[in-house]
């Protein structure tokens, strides 16, 4: 500290020259920082990388759950991809944003030249970048385990995008309305419940009929079921699942936009 006392700069150093950086540069910088923060966070990596990878490897290798006809990996991979989307867009985003709100990061950024919609765009880009990394890793492992996917890549992409939108809306709704600690607890609990009850590793037809129909309406079930229809069974377009995800997206994002509090 001694070196800093009393040092004065060259006159004119601080002369005002205000201005916002170009929007694309601001958004790119924000997205890069958000992604870096996420990849640096151990608990986040546990949720987004370690758990999906372990589930995929473990349940493919060991016959614990009856995954129906065909190879276990062909059943598991679509579910684990859905889980990966949920872990990043919902759980990870909710927890990170909740604490950013709590620690005044959102408030401080609101006073910067980056507009709020720019911040939200950057968050979405960061989620997408993380998902691309997750999907690259998980599909590489799945191929190594003998996965043979079918179906229309465009349908897969559409499911992933709508799934991301639905989970982002719900995650931001939680982060923007609850306390950070409550978000942390609730987001992890929801992650666990949906992991078990959302058709990720346990087929939904293991549940009683009425429960099965109700669980089928969850965004995680729609995403894992839709991905399975395409990747395992070669379906063209799983309209029903896409419809469910579209409704969740509209409801989630709409509510988040309406109720999100920045401080």
């Amino acid at each position: 500290m001694t070196s800093t006392t009393g040092t004065t700069g060259t006159p004119g150093t601080y002369a005002p020259k205000p201005g916002a950086a170009p929007l694309p540069r601001m958004i790119a910088a924000q997205a890069a920082l958000e992604t870096k923060m996420l990849l640096r966070n151990g608990e986040q990596l546990l949720l987004t990388v370690v758990i999906p990878t372990l589930l995929l490897v473990l349940f493919s290798a060991v016959d614990i759950v009856d995954t129906g006809e065909g190879k276990a990996v062909d059943f598991l991979t679509p579910g684990v991809l859905a889980l990966a989307v949920m872990s990043t867009a919902f759980t990870g985003q909710a927890i990170a944003t909740g604490f950013e709100r709590r620690y005044g990061v959102l408030k401080r950024l609101a006073a910067s030249p980056l507009p709020r919609w720019g911040l939200m765009t950057a968050k979405t880009l960061s989620v997408l970048v993380t998902e691309v990394l997750q999907i690259a890793l998980l599909t590489a492992i799945a191929f190594a385990l003998g996965w043979s996917p079918h179906g229309n890549p465009f349908a897969v992409l559409l499911l992933l995008v709508l799934g991301t939108a639905a989970f982002s809306g719900l995650g931001l709704l939680m982060a923007g309305t609850l306390k950070a600690e409550a978000t942390l607890a609730a987001a992890n609990l929801v992650f666990l419940l949906l992991l078990v009850g959302g058709g990720v590793i346990v087929p939904l037809d293991k549940f009683p009929g009425a429960v099965e129909s109700a669980l089928g309406l969850l965004p995680i079930s729609a995403l894992s079921d839709g991905l399975r229809d395409v990747l395992q069974d070669g379906a063209a377009m799983p309209w029903a699942d896409l419809g469910i995800l579209a409704v969740w997206s509209v409801v989630g994002l709409g509510a988040a936009g309406r109720f999100f509090r920045w401080e």
Partner: protein, 308 residues
């Protein structure tokens, strides 16, 4: 008023539920100056600052910052102001240099980040993430983030709270350089010495209103009287001394040989007293002047009872 003001608030009112935080506040802050906003806890300082920063929408009244409406013209205003919050504002997992470089990237013509890091001693943070930085390092980072975008106007909410004396002086020195380069600075503080040391203007806020505004000197001169004391032989002719003094003065022998002169204590008054003593063959021992500090004035204006 006019183009020389960076902040103009008229009849500002802000309520939180039933509690009125700001209650018809008028404030005019001139450009190119350092203005200190003083007030007891809960007086409405932070609410006032945050209304200027565009965080709060006033319930009544008008506020213009750099001639702009902070809420409706936020997009135009934000790049021109620098904001230091009372606490927080940084990703808990970010390193100091990383966060500062990021804020710099949001601006078109930022300061040289490395020079600013060195200037504020932030190089000592190394690769430590924000949550593990000391309170002083966190404060200095927040200050750096407020100035890195080369703003016209900087808002610093308690910039030296919890700083050690060296870091406090480093902050003061930066604030002086900002002013010298034409940046307007508005800061809140609980340190009266800080306001006396740094501020060109002081605004005292209490119960949501500005109750006094002026230079530290003006505030100390007004209101409370200042005193001059000396000792000499007992029984001096106080009436004769009084005649030599300006009309608004008073003189008394408090105890035998202990004299007190009160009034506008300035160099002229001191000279008058010493020359009167010389004429009367008195050696004024232990002569001392007590000028009121800003703290005296502040306590007089806002009362001495504890606030929430």
């Amino acid at each position: 008023m006019g183009t020389e003001s960076v902040v103009q608030a008229v009849g500002l009112v802000k309520r939180y539920g039933k509690k009125t935080a700001v209650d018809g506040l008028d404030l005019d802050v001139r450009a190119g100056a350092v203005t200190a906003v003083l007030g007891p806890n809960g007086a409405g300082k932070t609410t006032t600052i945050e209304t200027c920063e565009g965080y709060r929408r006033p319930d009544a009244g008008e506020v213009r910052v750099l001639g702009l409406d902070p809420v409706r013209q936020a997009a135009a205003l934000r790049p021109r102001i620098g904001v230091m919050l009372q606490s927080g504002g940084v990703y808990s997992g970010a390193r100091a240099d990383e966060m500062l470089r990021h804020v710099a990237k949001l601006h078109a013509h930022p300061l040289d980040v490395d020079a600013l890091i060195e200037r504020l001693g932030l190089d000592s943070c190394g690769r430590t993430t924000y949550r593990r930085l000391s309170g002083g390092q966190q404060q200095r980072l927040a200050l750096a983030m407020a100035v890195v975008g080369r703003p016209d106007l900087v808002f610093l909410d308690e910039p030296t709270a919890g700083l050690d004396p060296q870091a406090r002086r480093a902050t003061w020195s930066l604030v002086r350089d900002l002013r010298a380069d034409g940046v307007s600075v508005i800061l809140t503080t609980h340190h009266m010495d800080e306001a006396e040391e740094l501020a060109d203007d002081v605004a005292v806020i209490d119960a949501g209103k500005v109750i006094a505004q002026g230079s530290p000197d003006e505030l100390c001169r007004g209101g409370a009287e200042n005193t001059l004391r000396f000792t000499g032989r007992p029984g001096l002719d106080v009436a004769s001394l009084l005649k030599a003094l300006p009309p608004d003065s008073a003189a008394a022998e408090l105890t035998p040989g202990a004299y007190r002169v009160s009034g506008t204590v300035d160099p002229q008054l001191l000279a008058t007293v010493t020359s009167w003593c010389a004429q009367h063959g008195v050696m004024p021992d232990r002569i001392s002047v007590e000028r009121h500090t800003l703290e005296d004035v502040f306590l007089e204006l806002t009362g001495k009872e504890l606030r929430s």
